[in-house]
Each structure stands twice: as C-alpha cells, then as structure tokens.
C-alpha cells in the first residue's frame, strides 16, 4: 500500500477553444511527500489544481488520488482530498461553527463526529473565540484559516494547498508551515503552490516548475539549480533562469523522476 502513489497525474491536458492551459502534465506524489508546484502567473498551476480536486474537467488525461480516478470514481477520491483554494470557498452567511458542521454533513460524517472535529479544528486554528461570528465579517487571514480547517475536517490523506500562506501574518504563516510538515510526517501527501519561493524551498521535498502549461523541470532545489546550469544558485535565481528560457525537452520529467 505504501508503494501506491497518493497522487498520479497522467498526461493531464486542458485546452480552452484550442488554447492550451495545461499540456500533457504527468506527475507522481507519494504519501508523506511535500511537492512544491511553482510557476509564474497564468502558468497553469491553479488550473491543474482545479482538475485534481474535481472543479474543472480535464480535456484529456487522468487524475488518480490513492488509486481512484477523480472524474470516474469521484466519491472515494474526494474523501481523500483536502483542498485549500487560493480564494477561500466559504459560505459567508454562516458562522464558522455552522459552516464546519455543514461541511461535515457534505463529507458524510456523523453528527457527533462532525461536531467534535469542528470544535477541535476551531481550537487548533485559533478561531474558537470567533466560532459564532459570521464568516463574512472575518479578515482575509481568518478566512484562510477557516479554509484550512475545512480542508482538514475529514482527515484527508492528500492535501492540495493553493497559495495557502497568502493573507496570513508571520506567526500564522509559521504555524501553517509547521502544520504542513507535521501532516507530511503523518503520511499525508501535500501539493502546494506558492509565489513565495522561500516557502517552497523550506517545505518541499521536490519542486516542479510549470511554464506555459508544461512541467518543464522537477527535483530538489539543488537538482533544479544544476538543471539550470547554475549550481549553488538559490531557488529564485533558478526559477527565473528556467522560466525565462524554458526547457521543453524536460516536459514530463517528474513522472518516475528522481525520488
């Protein structure tokens, strides 16, 4: 079971009216691994995430989560996924507590389990004092914490985090980064996209660079620097070098790539 990939993307492609947003993207992420997904604005990171989570049907290719196809066998796949989108998806006219209870219903949790888990997460995210306030009145940071709490509600084995530290203050961002490391130690597979390269460098076991819808390079930060022909360069320099002059021949490098 441990050898089964937590996430397997096979030749994932998305086109809009012939415009390719994501092209033949293949990727494997194992349980307990943190995979950083980097790319410039419009590179295709969020589109890929949306296909992985079931929000956007791919034009072709497959997304397997713990062996279940997100689009053909969605229920078990979605039970395994926790998703924090770049813009939190929240029912803003509910209170924090009511929203978590509602989400527990959507995940098919029992009433007692859902309520206990909601209290636990409100406490963990520091939202317990605000549990009976409308989410509409929350700050962006608090909404982000709510989105994280929602993603963790059903104890997922795969976490997809899109710009998860955006809007968080330094302390909260540190706490979230520590949590991500802890989840990975527990065997949760984490895919995170971020514009903050230091976050990716600090957390990720492997990093993939997406450019114009193609995965152009992958590996550890050191491996990426070597691929860019800049050994010893930091991730920012590597990122700029690789995305400024993309290496199309490395597309698909991550499938079965260095572990």
């Amino acid at each position: 079971m441990a050898c089964q990939p937590a996430i397997l993307l096979e030749n994932l492609t998305k086109t809009y009216d012939g415009y390719p947003a994501v092209q033949g993207l293949s990727l494997i992420v194992m349980p307990g691994e943190i995979f950083g997904f980097l790319g410039a604005n419009g590179a295709g990171k969020t589109t890929t995430m949306r296909m992985m989570v079931g929000l956007l049907p791919p034009t072709s290719g497959r997304v397997l989560i713990q062996g279940h196809d997100v689009w053909r066998d969605p229920a078990p796949a979605k039970r395994a996924i926790g998703y924090v989108p770049d813009t939190p998806i929240l029912h803003e006219l509910l209170t924090a507590r009511e929203f978590l209870w509602f989400m527990a219903d959507l995940y098919g949790m029992s009433r007692s389990e859902g309520r206990a888990r909601a209290e636990e997460l409100l406490e963990m995210m520091g939202l317990a004092p605000h549990a009976d306030r409308l989410i509409r009145d929350f700050s962006l940071g608090m909404k982000r914490k709510m989105a994280i709490a929602t993603a963790l509600l059903h104890r997922p084995r795969v976490l997809l985090l899109d710009e998860v530290t955006n809007g968080l203050d330094a302390r909260a961002a540190r706490e979230v980064k520590d949590l991500i490391k802890a989840w990975a130690r527990d065997g949760v597979a984490v895919v995170l996209t971020t514009h903050i390269l230091s976050v990716a460098e600090e957390l990720s076991d492997r990093i993939g660079l997406i450019h114009r819808g193609r995965l152009i390079a992958g590996g550890t930060a050191c491996e990426l620097a070597r691929k860019a022909g800049m050994p010893g360069a930091n991730l920012e320099e590597t990122f700029l070098a690789l995305t400024g002059d993309a290496l199309p021949d490395e597309a698909g490098a991550l499938e079965g790539g260095p572990r």
């Binding site: 809009y16 947003a21 956007l56 998806i89």
Partner: protein
C-alpha cells in the same frame, strides 16, 4: 436514498440558517421583521380593497379565486425554479463546495427545492389571505385553506418545472441559458406593468378572478401543460430514476462551468466606445 434525503436536508438547513443569520440574527435593523411587516401591510391593504372595488365579488367565487391563485403561483414558481435555480445550482457559492466533496449533486438539487418550501408557504399564505377576500364571509376561511393548499401545490410543481427546464437547457444548450433569465425578467416586468396599469385604471383582483373563471378551461390546460406536467415529470423522475436527473444536472453543470472558465480566459473586449479625454472623462470619472 436515505443518505440523499439527510444530505438534502443539510443543504436546506444551511440555506435557512444563512437566511436567518442575514435577516434576523446578525441584522442590526432586523431586516426580516421589516420585510414581513411590509408584506403583511401590502396584503392587508389588498384585502380591504378587493371587495370594496368590486361589490359583485361573490360572482367571481371560489373558482375564480382558485384559478387566479394557481396561475400566479405557477408563474412565480416556474420563474423562481429557473432564475433562482440558475443562480443557486450553476453559479452559487455552494457549487464548488459540492464539487470538492463526495456529496452527490442530486442532494444539492433536492436541498434547494426543500429550502424554498417555507418561504413559498409563507408567500402563498399571504396571497391566499388576499384572494380569500373575494369569497363571501361564511366560506372565507375554508376558502383560504383551499387557496393556500392549491397555490402551494401549483407553486411547487411549477418550481420543479422550472428546474426541469433549467436542467435540460444547461445540459443541451448552456451557452444560451442566461437568455432564459432575460426572457423571464422581461416577461415579469411586462406583467407587473400590465397589473399596475390595470389596477390604476380601477381594475380589481375580483374582476380579474371573474375573467379567469370565464376562461378557466383554457387557463388550467395551459397551466397543466407548462407547469403541472413537467413538474410532475421531474417529481416522478426524482423518485423513480434519480440517477437520470443527477447525470443531466451534473453534465449540464460542467458544461456551464466550462463556458464560464472560457469567459475568464478570453481577453476582455469591450464593444462600447472608450470615453474621450478631457472634461467629459474627468466629470464621468468623478461620478
């Protein structure tokens, strides 16, 4: 099926909680209370006016009032099912929540229908109270109950008919689905305008009910064809072949969302002339 029902109730409950929070619990001016009072006042005025304007009210009778009630509630229902259904089931806040969870789309659709029941029951009660004034006093209160039950049934069936129309429209021609809203919007404005002109020229609900009674077979046939049968079809399909409804809704939803995504990917292009420079632009920008 049991899981679907409990999930549908959870969806409905979240809608009720949101409305309660917005209109009462977290509303400083208690907007919900004000809204109820305004509705009550309007119907009270209407009740007082209907028999007075048409002293021959009794001639319209229960059948006239029933026909009027069913026609109106069917119209409200079909419009609500289509227009609000489009907002809730294809664009609303809960759509992505449903997509990312293992919850079945059918529960989402059913939940929205259940959610609409209390408000529909209340609105129908107000109108039933109003139209019952057409019926002479001894029979007024039983008439109110009958008008309420008939209006509620017509409204519910029409709501389902609106959803059926929406589901098929989204599935087979999603690119024109928005035009349905324009169609219903224009038709509603036309009907409200016609009603306002009619009432301002001395017309009354009683006279309208009398007209309705005279044309009863044609009106009821139209209602049955437009709202009754399609609504019944969806109700039966939900009971007998829920997967059929669910697959149509899910396929349509993804087609609509796909079109939405394409709209955001396409570069924005305005078909309006740009504002000129100088004084005009300065004035307009300040506005």
């Amino acid at each position: 099926m049991n899981g679907i029902v409990s999930l549908s109730l959870a969806v409905a409950r979240s809608g009720w909680q949101a409305a309660w929070n917005r209109l009462f619990r977290f509303s400083r001016v208690k907007a919900g209370l004000i809204w109820i009072v305004i509705q009550g006042c309007l119907v009270f005025v209407f009740v007082g006016r209907a028999p007075a304007v048409a002293p021959d009210a009794a001639e319209a009778g229960l059948m006239g009032a029933l026909t009027l009630m069913c026609a109106q509630m069917a119209w409200f229902g079909i419009m609500f099912g289509f227009s609000r259904g489009q907002m809730q089931l294809y664009q609303g806040l809960l759509v992505p929540l449903f997509q990312i969870t293992p919850a079945r789309p059918l529960a989402f659709l059913l939940g929205r229908v259940i959610e609409a029941v209390p408000v529909r029951a209340w609105t129908t009660l107000l109108w039933a109270w109003g139209y019952s004034a057409i019926v002479p006093p001894p029979a007024r209160w039983p008439a109110l109950a009958l008008l309420w039950a008939a209006g509620l049934a017509a409204g519910m069936l029409a709501h389902l008919a609106g959803l059926l129309l929406l589901t098929f429209w989204g599935r087979y021609h999603p690119q024109t689905m928005r035009h349905g809203n324009t169609f219903f919007g224009v038709l509603t404005i036309a009907m409200v305008t016609a009603a306002t002109i009619y009432l301002s020229q001395g017309g009354s609900a009683t006279e309208l009910a009398m007209t309705m009674r005279a044309a009863r077979p044609a009106i009821l046939t139209t209602l049955a064809a437009v709202a009754g049968l399609p609504g019944l079809l969806l109700a039966v399909a939900l009971l007998v072949r829920p997967q059929w409804v669910e697959s149509h809704y899910r396929d349509g939803l993804y087609r609509v969302l796909e079109l939405g995504e394409q709209d955001t990917v396409r570069s924005g292009r305005s078909y309006w002339l740009p504002l000129g420079d100088g004084v005009l632009r300065a004035v307009l920008s300040r506005e």
